[in-house]
């Protein structure tokens, strides 16, 4: 069982911690994995992408090839669309609908909606709103991670362990609300799909 996931967003939106949590969770499950990260220049408010490859067999390439990703998970809708060439025909696109508009020429949100709606399998989540609802605006990326969990063969326990490890340095309450965010995202995905 192999799952190739593209994580997409903008520098500073928490893609690195999402990737690290998936990596830790996958290792906990005894899966083979490769998870690439973006560092350096592009992080300064630029587009960021991470390729995550999970499998019960050996994983060779560090990058997913075009047309082969099972999932695109994006914390920003235009960045989701940017990664479309990687998506499989029957792959799922899961995205936060809240645009990150640090550009003067950010496209009209209607155009983005339209492009998203043309896809056969798409799950749109207003994770920013949900995060605000639970009082932790910064946890929208973990809400999206929770949504992802509904699509991959990794147990909730392993994800929780990953969250604990990644946020351990920031105190117990941070771990707790991120777990809460994770479960919220997971529930949304399970009830809508």
């Amino acid at each position: 069982m192999k799952t190739d996931v593209i994580l997409a967003g903008v520098g500073g939106q928490g893609i690195l911690s999402m990737g690290a949590i998936i990596g830790l969770a996958a290792l906990e499950e005894g899966l083979h994995l490769k998870q690439s990260e973006t560092h350096g220049m592009s992080q300064r408010g630029g587009a960021v992408v991470s390729h995550v490859r999970l499998s019960d067999r050996s994983v060779y390439a560090d990058l997913i090839h075009h047309g082969q990703a099972d999932l695109i998970l994006a914390v920003e809708p235009m960045e989701a669309l940017r990664q479309l060439p990687f998506l499989k025909k029957d792959g799922y696109l899961i995205t936060n609908t809240d645009p990150f508009t640090n550009l003067p020429n950010y496209p009209e949100i209607g155009k983005i909606q339209e492009a998203l709606d043309q896809l056969p399998k798409v799950l749109k989540i207003d994770a920013t709103d949900l995060a605000r609802d639970i009082g932790h605006a910064k946890s929208s990326n973990i809400i999206m991670l929770g949504a992802l969990s509904a699509f991959v063969h990794i147990s909730v326990q392993s994800f929780e362990k990953g969250i604990e490890t990644v946020f351990a340095g920031k105190g117990e309450d941070v771990v707790e609300f991120n777990k809460q965010a994770f479960h919220l995202g997971r529930k949304v995905a399970l009830t809508t799909v």
């Binding site: 083979h32 560092h39 220049m41 592009s42 408010g45 587009a47 090839h65 235009m78 550009l103």
Partner: protein, 533 residues
């Protein structure tokens, strides 16, 4: 033992600690930065008192590592590919001196130029210096090779290069660790002449280096990292180097690999293994990340024989990072691409953080020089180079560390006015200082702006070697104190800044203006780090 999750760079760092290094020397540079950062944050390294501060530049880093090796201990030195150009002087000479304690150079290349000025392939430097080069293909190999490289270095009495690339450096995977070794004890080189490259001794050393080549060749032929695997379809033989091996295997992930193939991860190129492939197959394809190093050599070996394909004949695109798609295409495997990027998607380039001090400094500088027209600012490598992009587009050069000052000087020498250099605190320490000395000596009519954000921000907020002593350095180099001007780059100081820039442009001679305000990200990183400590 259970595998642990490591970034390729972290695997190298952990391996070096486990192999008993006494120090790591480096200047930050993407994609190599995390090697040193990992060691700085490692409790194991702290307990062992592994020396791990940042160096002023790659040359000083390499020289210090060579000194540690001279003293008999194991040392790691890390840099990115363009950093090796800075250290090239000592690097090439260190192959002639040889080493005492194991010396490993981890150099991370950046094919695809994710955050670099070029795509240069460090394997050429390794070949040029005639030392062993190891090129891991995955995170476990990164660990294993880094761990074994110290012994290889001691055995060959040569520095060993570990060549990494962005993808390997910045991909995480599970890695199994090995036994933790004790650091070596102090021990002087056996020969008191070994590190003396005076011509009479250097000639002797160079002869030794040449004599070692057969041995290095033999080791590469026998290395467990270089091997041949047979395949049924002899129409093509494939040579894969480092990461290329992964992409090649990926193309056939769900089926048996039809072609005979060779994997190369230890250099010099193992000729006999490739010869075997060449004899068996009708044509050859070389899959390598970076420049066509192996491909060129195959042309040399077998040039009059069978066709060799790769980057030289365009079978694989010569520019950019290797991908499965590229390798697949070279093997005539075509992938479906059911979706394409919708038209509404626009590029999202990196940009200054909101409220960054560089922005306020540039706004004032741009206003101060508006009447002179465009093209007067020579920039350097750092966040401030983002001023090349809209809405600023006010810088015209960004070439190598330190070149802002020296290029502006050259232009000033040519009679260009105003000639203005903009660089950061860390770049100034890295290689701006010597350029400033030239300018002072010749009383060049130029303005140097050291936009001091008290941080190496492009790579994650490391401290600069000139932290808190920039003015002292400038005075020491002979800049007139009346023309060293410091201010805080904030919107509310705009008029004052414009005025100061104008005055110093008008002054005939060297002036240094220092806008100083801590990088916003650095402040955050600093707070985070203090918290976790």
């Amino acid at each position: 033992m259970k595998p642990e999750l490591f970034l390729g760079n972290e695997a190298v760092a952990q391996a070096a600690i486990d192999a008993g290094i006494s120090g790591v020397y480096a200047y930050p540079g993407t994609p190599s930065t995390e090697i040193t950062e990992y060691i700085q944050q490692s409790k194991q390294a702290l307990d062992r008192q592994v020396r791990c501060n940042w160096s002023a530049n790659e040359k000083t880093a390499y020289e210090a590592a060579l000194g540690m090796s001279y003293a008999g201990k194991r040392a790691l030195v890390c840099m990115k590919q363009v950093g090796l150009n800075v250290a090239a002087d000592v690097f090439i000479n260190s192959a002639i001196t040889g080493v005492n304690g194991g010396l490993v150079l981890a150099v991370a290349d950046d094919p695809g130029m994710h955050s670099s000025q070029n795509e240069q392939d460090s394997r050429f430097y390794g070949k040029f210096a005639m030392i062993p080069v190891l090129e891991p293909s995955n995170q476990q190999e990164s660990y294993n090779m880094a761990y074994e490289a110290f012994q290889l270095s001691e055995q060959s009495q040569l520095p060993v290069m570990l060549r990494l690339t962005t993808r390997l450096s910045h991909t995480r995977s599970g890695v199994l660790r090995r036994e933790v070794l004790q650091p070596k004890s102090l021990k002087l080189p056996q020969s008191s002449k070994q590190f003396l490259l005076l011509p009479i001794f250097a000639r002797k050393n160079y002869r030794h280096l040449l004599e070692k080549q057969d041995l290095l060749q033999e080791w590469a032929e026998q290395s467990k990292y270089n091997f041949f695997r047979d395949g049924a379809d002899k129409s093509l033989g494939v040579v894969c180097c480092g990461l290329g091996w992964n992409y090649f295997q990926e193309v056939f992930a769900d089926s048996e690999i039809p072609y005979p193939r060779v994997k190369i991860s230890q250099y010099p190129v193992p000729v006999s293994i490739i010869r075997k492939l060449e004899e068996l197959c009708d044509e050859l394809l070389v899959v390598e990340e970076g420049y066509p190093l192996v491909e060129e050599q195959l042309h040399d070996f077998f040039g009059k024989g069978k066709p060799v394909h790769g980057k030289l004949d365009g079978t694989i695109d010569r520019q950019g990072e290797l991908t499965t798609d590229k390798v697949g295409r070279a093997l005539a495997v075509i992938y479906d691409e059911p979706f394409s990027v919708p038209e509404c998607v626009v590029p999202r380039p990196p940009s200054f953080c909101m409220g960054c001090g560089h922005v306020d400094a540039f706004k004032a500088l741009d206003e101060a020089i508006a009447s002179y027209g465009a093209g007067h600012i020579f920039s350097d490598i750092g966040c401030y180079a983002l001023a090349a992009l809209p809405p600023f587009e006010s810088i015209y050069t960004c070439v190598d560390m330190g070149a802002s000052i020296t290029m502006a000087k050259g232009a000033a020498d040519a009679g260009f006015f105003p000639a203005i250099a903009v660089l950061g605190d860390s770049t100034f320490a890295h290689s701006g200082i010597t350029g400033l000395l030239d300018a002072v000596n010749e009383k060049t009519n130029m303005l140097i702006v050291i936009s001091d954000n008290q941080s190496v921000s492009m790579t994650g907020g490391q401290d600069s070697a000139a932290k808190d002593i920039i003015e002292t350095i400038c005075v020491g180099l002979g800049v007139d104190t009346r023309h060293i001007r410091v201010f805080v780059p904030l919107k509310k100081n705009h008029e004052e800044m414009v005025q100061i820039f104008k005055e110093e442009i008008e002054f005939e001679g060297v002036s240094v203006v220092i806008p100083r305000r801590e990088c916003l990200q650095k402040a955050m990183w600093r707070m985070k780090r203090n918290k976790t400590k």
